[in-house]
């Protein structure tokens, strides 16, 4: 569906994407994971065929966005990071009019709009102004709108940013359903849990480059331990105490508010820490996540 070789994007002197290779296959959910400014959105805009490629090769459905942009866009669904819903139109018209841009006839547009309102669980809001919708509803409407042309490939740029946990779960459920229906999904996110939930395969991007690639499980296996012991000490003590626990795990990360000890047996680490007379204010043993992979690969947490 997507094939990129040495893909680059520059804005003047600033290079947002510095040569990446990506292959997305039909039917999979593929993720671009990384902090703000990693180059995810620039990559997405190139895939969406609205931003010219600076250099390298990009093919979507085997076509070149530079020459076949309209044909590619006709088969894409795009859910941008910022809502671009038309506030002046009501909810139904946002879907109906968007369908017309794809050349879908009026009757089919009306049917599709009605179905999609159902799918997005906003049927009762059909005649409401977009302004009157909650954040979660607006996102669902945006996703519904991106499905009006029955796309082969759906691009979702930070789909759940700014949503409360409940709204995120409703949205995830809908994305699962699309995936089951065979729609290829490409998702950018800086939420690790979202990437783990939704993506079959993902790349971790940092500073315009791909730092790692694989399934969430593969990445965790390759770049982290099975478990992590989190130790919280008093303010400013973490740096100094790192040396006293570093032999307990495969490695130790020092964060401003806690120490992370990477080990396949987290509980044993905690026991050993207490045996050494150290008194953490709080401890937590958890499984490794993509957050740990990111920390390992870039030396920074995603929130930076």
């Amino acid at each position: 569906m997507i094939s990129a070789r040495g893909l680059r994007k520059s804005f003047g002197d600033f290079e947002a994407v510095k040569g990446i290779d990506v292959e997305v296959r039909k039917g999979e959910a593929f993720g671009f994971l990384g902090p703000n400014g990693a180059g995810k959105s620039s990559t997405m805009r190139m895939i969406a065929s609205v931003s010219p490629v600076t250099s390298g090769e990009l093919r979507i459905f085997g076509m070149d966005p530079a020459t076949d942009g309209p044909a590619i866009r006709g088969r894409l669904g795009v859910c941008p990071q910022e809502d671009t819903l038309d506030n002046e139109l009501n909810v139904f018209d946002n879907l109906y009019i968007y369908g017309r841009y794809f050349g879908i006839d009026r009757a089919t547009c009306r049917d599709r709009a009605t179905e999609l309102l159902e799918f997005a669980q906003i049927t009762e809001k059909a005649k409401s102004k977009v302004e009157d919708l909650s954040g979660g509803m607006k996102r669902r409407l945006t996703i519904a709108r991106s499905l009006i042309n029955n796309p082969d490939l759906l691009l979702l740029d930070e789909p759940t940013t700014g949503l409360d946990p409940q709204a995120r779960h409703v949205l995830w459920d809908q994305l699962f359903r699309l995936k089951q229906a065979g729609v290829t999904l490409v998702i950018t996110t800086h939420y690790m849990d979202e990437a783990e939930q939704l993506c079959d395969r993902l790349v971790v991007m940092d500073k315009g480059l791909i730092a790692a690639e694989g399934s969430p499980r593969e990445l965790i296996d390759a770049h982290s331990t099975r478990e992590v012991a989190e130790l919280r000490f008093g303010v400013g003590e973490h740096e100094g105490l790192a040396g006293k626990v570093e032999d307990l795990g495969e490695r130790v990360e020092v964060l401003p508010d806690r120490l992370l000890v990477y080990s396949d047996h987290g509980e044993e680490v905690v026991t050993a820490v207490l045996d050494r007379g150290l008194q953490p204010i709080a401890t937590l043993v958890r499984r490794s996540t993509l957050e740990d992979v990111f920390l390992r690969l870039t030396g920074r947490s995603l929130a930076d």
Partner: protein, 275 residues
């Protein structure tokens, strides 16, 4: 990968014809019109009528000039009306191509949403300008119809061609303004455009008085303004005093400006949206 066997001259895959690009946006602009036509009635029809009554009838009542000095008009009202409508065409065209363009880029992001579909920048510009021209054409048509009973037109066909010339004025100004708005980062630039562009043009391009009154130098400056060409054309056609070579020049200038403006609008929006 499949070998490309398409002829070199073919359009990029999926590119829409200008007609299809236009019709796919018809429902959108129809909805916009249904929502905004009431506000348009006041600005498009009532305001110019106030001008006609105040400037043409009431102020014009004090002006008792020789038709020779009024470019052949029998009364000041007959003189001022064709110029007023042309200036009005400019005002509508500029107003509709300033804040609405910036809004579609910056505030509502309508253009971004539309561009994620098979529509191209060219298609967005065409439909947008098509809507502006519809506004200009309908406002000028109503204006001209309302004025007919005042006895200011000298032939039956003249006013019809004058109306076409007013639409041309609208087209030239809409395309140029669109190009300006597409490049503008902040709306403060519009204040400059209205104060240093629209207002002086309205006052000094021959709509209210013959530009010969400006003196030889300023008269030539006035002749170089796009609005003067529209006023001149509109007036000659309404008063049936057509100097055909001059009319051809006037129309030619407006057509050339429209073509150049359209190019400028498309390139401006491409630079802005397709970075």
């Amino acid at each position: 990968m499949a070998t490309d066997t398409s002829p070199v001259t073919s359009r990029p895959a999926g590119t829409l014809s200008a007609y299809e690009g236009f019709t796919r946006q018809y429902d959108y602009w129809l909805t916009v019109y249904k929502r905004t036509w009431r506000g348009g009635v006041v600005s498009s029809f009532a305001t110019p009528l106030f001008y006609v009554v105040a400037m043409g009838v009431l102020l014009g009542g004090f002006i008792d000039a020789d038709p020779e000095r009024l470019e052949g008009a029998a009364s000041y009202l007959a003189f001022v009306v064709p110029g007023l409508v042309a200036a009005h065409a400019m005002t509508i065209a500029v107003s509709e191509s300033t804040y609405p363009v910036m809004g579609a880029i910056k505030w509502h992001k309508t253009f971004y949403a539309q561009l994620a579909t098979p529509l191209a920048v060219r298609d967005l510009v065409n439909a947008f300008l098509g809507f502006v021209l519809f506004r200009v054409a309908s406002a000028c048509a109503v204006f001209m119809l309302v004025l007919a009973p005042f006895g200011v037109f000298e032939s039956w066909w003249g006013p019809f061609l004058a109306w076409v010339s007013q639409v041309l004025v609208g087209m030239a100004f809409a395309t140029l303004t669109f190009g300006y708005s597409a490049r503008l980062k902040s709306e403060e630039g519009f204040g400059v455009l209205f104060r240093l562009g629209v207002l002086p043009l309205t006052l000094f391009s021959g709509a209210f008085f013959p530009i010969t009154n400006l003196g030889p130098v300023l008269e030539w400056v006035a002749r170089l303004t796009p609005l003067w060409h529209g006023v001149s054309l509109s007036r000659m056609l309404c008063l049936d005093t057509v100097d055909w070579p001059l009319a051809a020049l006037n129309a030619g200038v407006l057509v050339v400006l429209s073509v150049v403006g359209w190019r400028w609008a498309v390139t401006g929006l491409e630079k802005r949206l397709e970075s």
